[in-house]
């Protein structure tokens, strides 16, 4: 196949692909690069390498607090979203019922509509009902974008395994609950892990909804936003950002790798 005419290697295209990837990664890689710079200015030439910004970060109370908050929100949102996503993905792939296509489009809406609109709408809702803004409201906001992600990740898993396996389990005497534990869950397990990891990352990195729905306790992105006002804080922001980026990369890579044999064509349903 690789030698067939259609797939002849195309040098300019290969070059383009490499340059493309470089441009994709390099801007982000500048952050870690300059986080080791011994200067509060982010520019060439660099003035020597140092770990001082990292060390200084470790000592800050506010950073640890924000990290904890992000963890709380992220873990809650990923568990709830994955649970709801399992049921939702199963319903979508296994059952026939009316209105499926519009419902699925509706569920995927939060992934496409500008988040500022959701942020604004939810803010208005919370204040009208009188719910105080806090980490709980942020979690609710994050659920709105995590649930579609969870469903999108789990959908290929459900589509990929033969429905008659669950029927066989029922036929052999297991009710819905037992069938889920003995058959369904083991079969979708990589998808569940991927969903948990990806939803956590989405929530951990999310800024816009957190900005609108936050009370007094900041999540990590919110903390960074606050620090951006002070130029002398730039290097510590760089250090923090670098650590977040590294962590996100590792978590997401791991999640994708675990889920690697699910088909990709179902992930991007588009409009």
């Amino acid at each position: 196949m690789s030698d067939s005419y259609i797939n002849k290697p195309n040098r300019p295209l290969q070059l383009y692909a490499i340059i493309f990837l470089i441009f994709l990664y390099v801007p982000v890689l500048f952050l870690p690069l300059f986080s080791f710079n011994d200067s509060i200015y982010v520019r060439f030439p660099m003035e020597g390498l140092t770990l001082q910004w990292y060390r200084e970060l470790m000592g800050r109370e506010a950073v640890w607090a924000a990290l904890m908050n992000s963890f709380k929100v992220g873990i809650t949102a990923s568990i709830v979203a994955t649970a709801l996503g399992i049921f939702g993905a199963k319903a979508i792939t296994r059952y026939r019922f009316h209105g499926k296509a519009p419902i699925v489009t509706f569920i995927m809406l939060p992934l496409v509509v500008p988040l500022i609109i959701f942020g604004v709408a939810l803010l208005v809702l919370m204040t009208s009902i009188g719910i105080p803004l806090s980490l709980y409201t942020v979690t609710i906001g994050h659920l709105i974008i995590c649930i579609p992600f969870a469903i999108a990740v789990l959908l290929p898993r459900f589509e990929g395994f033969d429905a008659s396996i669950e029927e066989a389990s029922a036929d052999l005497g297991e009710n819905a609950w037992w069938t889920f534990w003995r058959v369904t869950l083991p079969m979708i397990f990589p998808g569940v892990v991927a969903s948990l990891l990806l939803c956590f990352t989405v929530s951990f990195d999310e800024f816009i909804l957190a900005f609108f729905l936050n009370g007094t306790e900041a999540t990590l992105p919110m903390y960074i936003w606050g620090q951006l006002r002070f130029p002398q804080e730039f290097p510590s922001v760089l250090a923090l950002s670098s650590m977040i980026i590294a962590a996100s990369f590792i978590i997401v890579f791991f999640g994708q790798w675990i889920n690697r044999d699910a088909s990709i064509s179902s992930i991007e349903g588009g409009k």
């Binding site: 259609i6 797939n7 195309n10 383009y16 692909a17 493309f20 990837l21 994709l24 990664y25 801007p27 982000v28 500048f30 952050l31 200015y41 982010v42 520019r43 060439f44 030439p45 709801l84 049921f87 939702g88 199963k90 059952y95 026939r96 019922f97 009316h98 419902i103 509706f106 569920i107 939060p110 496409v112 509509v113 500008p114 500022i116 609109i117 959701f118 604004v120 709408a121 939810l122 208005v124 809702l125 009208s128 659920l143 709105i144 649930i147 990806l198 951990f204 990195d205 800024f207 816009i208 992105p221 936003w225 951006l228 980026i245 996100s248 990369f249 990709i264 991007e268 588009g270 409009k271």
Partner: protein, 294 residues
């Protein structure tokens, strides 16, 4: 074997089972999406009065939006920036998607993960990274000056619509690559071989077969980038400067410093309707164009 009412309904109807499973997610999303929007619509017809709202129903905000030119101008500029960013992104990502679909034979999954990995980091951080790169004393300028290629820093890089466009393109590239890749991958290779057999060279083959067949992907990608970027406010806030300000900033200000929530609500509604109208128009136009081609 006594079986309760709920279990009987579950057993009798497949549709009932489907809805039941879907309901937690659906109810939550419905409540979290529809109710706030309803409230938003209602609020857009109120006006601000000190620290509270004047709940008298009035189209005052919408009138303001129609009459005062700043709103229209800002909306127009947002759409313009979004459109350029969309075109820019789709055009740049298309060859990449093409490469992975047609010229990568092993580890396709790895390439896909590689291309989309940056997308999983914080949006805020990626915008911040560009601020660092494009700044007055930023990476590009200081690097070029250090290498002696320019004398004074390039002004246009930061705090301009250009900066916004470049950053948006970079940030949303993954949303373009995936749909483009999926639709290119689906093209039956034997169609291309048939075209070659019938006399088409590579360029003609691309324009007559590959590109038209990848149109669904192009459309998906365009919509997936256009819609979110119109309402973006982080990018313009950090790097737009006064010339690069977008409607998202204005909306956010209404809920912040300006403290005119009803106006913010009205602007949000207008933004949503505009996006919806343009998307629908876009889909219809491409639909008719495709009908004429095929």
């Amino acid at each position: 074997m006594r079986v309760g009412w709920f279990q009987r309904q579950l057993h009798k109807s497949e549709a009932f089972r489907g809805y039941t499973l879907l309901s937690p997610a659906l109810i939550f999303l419905a409540a979290a999406i529809l109710i706030p929007f309803a409230i938003l619509v209602v609020m857009s017809f109120w006006t601000t009065a000190g620290f509270d709202f004047n709940r008298e129903f009035t189209p005052h905000n919408y009138q303001q939006i129609m009459e005062r030119p700043i709103y229209g101008a800002l909306l127009w500029r947002s759409l313009w920036i979004s459109t350029i960013a969309t075109v820019f992104t789709v055009v740049l990502c298309y060859p990449m998607a093409y490469y992975v679909a047609f010229h990568v034979h092993r580890n396709k999954m790895m390439w896909i993960v590689l291309m989309t990995l940056p997308f999983w980091t914080s949006y805020l951080l990626r915008v911040f990274a560009w601020k660092v790169v494009l700044g007055y004393e930023g990476v590009i300028n200081s690097g070029l000056m250090w290498a002696g290629w320019i004398e004074a820093p390039l002004e246009f890089l930061l705090y301009s619509p250009t900066a916004v466009i470049i950053t948006l393109a970079h940030a949303w590239a993954a949303f373009a690559i995936l749909p483009l890749y999926v639709s290119l991958e689906k093209i039956d290779k034997s169609l291309l071989e048939a075209a070659t057999d019938l006399g088409d060279g590579p360029v003609r083959r691309f324009f007559r077969i590959t590109f038209p067949l990848s149109m669904p992907g192009v459309i998906s990608a365009s919509i997936l980038i256009f819609i979110p970027t119109t309402g973006d406010y982080i990018t313009p806030a950090l790097l737009g400067g006064p010339d690069g300000m977008m409607i998202g900033n204005l909306i956010q200000a209404q809920f912040g410093a300006v403290n005119n929530w009803p106006m913010g609500a009205a602007l949000s509604i207008v933004l949503m309707l505009t996006i919806a109208a343009i998307s629908v128009a876009f889909i219809l136009v491409t639909f008719f164009v495709r009908k004429r081609i095929t």
